[in-house]
Symmetry: C2
Subunit: 134 residues, 2 copies
Amino acid sequence: MKNAKINIRELGLTKQREVVLQVIRNAEKHLTANEVFDRAKQLLPTISFATVYNSLRFLKDAGHIGEISFGNGASRFDALTSRHDHAICTNCGKLVDMEIELPGEIVELATKFSKFKLESIELTLRGLCPECNK
Amino acid sequence: MKNAKINIRELGLTKQREVVLQVIRNAEKHLTANEVFDRAKQLLPTISFATVYNSLRFLKDAGHIGEISFGNGASRFDALTSRHDHAICTNCGKLVDMEIELPGEIVELATKFSKFKLESIELTLRGLCPECNK
DNA sequence: ATTTAAATTTAGAATAATTCTAATTCCAAA
DNA sequence: TTTGGAATTAGAATTATTCTAAATTTAAAT
């Protein structure tokens, strides 16, 4: 057989990028770039900070991960399973994933209104998480 | 008559904060903190950068302005007229306000799902703006 | 096997964005 | 007036992210 070797570059998954993706997939919460770096370094001690950022961008552009960002502090990243929404606590910053089914008419309305070619759409709820609301 | 003088501090509107608010209200687009600073300085040359940031936080907490933030670059601020949504171009960063009426059931669902005490909820559409889609 | 060219990684510097600090000023109430 | 608390100022400090240039890795071509 010819060409038994897989061209890793075509898939775009270098060792470093794979590690970054694993870290994010295995995380119990949404990590910042810094946290991803710390964990990635445990798996691949030579990985550099710049590579983590490069990988995050690459993985995001490739649609493997999502970036969530609010007015405060660093962006956080999550594994993209499917379309989902977020709730963020205005007091402690706690971030929660939500699965809300958006009615088609809402999506249509937003697309028409903005005249944008839609890539993604999400709902963001801000408020107090149960702990902060006590 | 007693107490004819208004206690400016109770309203919270110092000269600086008023200027910042004016700048945002009069802006033809969504400004970054930096842009707000530049414009505020033209109206009130002694205003400092820190004060702009403090004022932005104050005005935001008071509900007079909104902060919009994506994974890239600086936050942007807009005058809060009423609840509204945003579309952001993934290519050029163009930011557009939208007025989409969210069905009550969606809001309810999100509130129930997250168990958060709701403060605000908004829709964010990402995609290509008409110019970038050509 | 070797060479090549392009992409990627690395380490650290540089930049951008935001917050903090300490001294000063402003303001309303006493 | 004096006073105490809040706000402002200037600039330093911190945090977050991107850039740079040299070294390395990779797949394809020789």
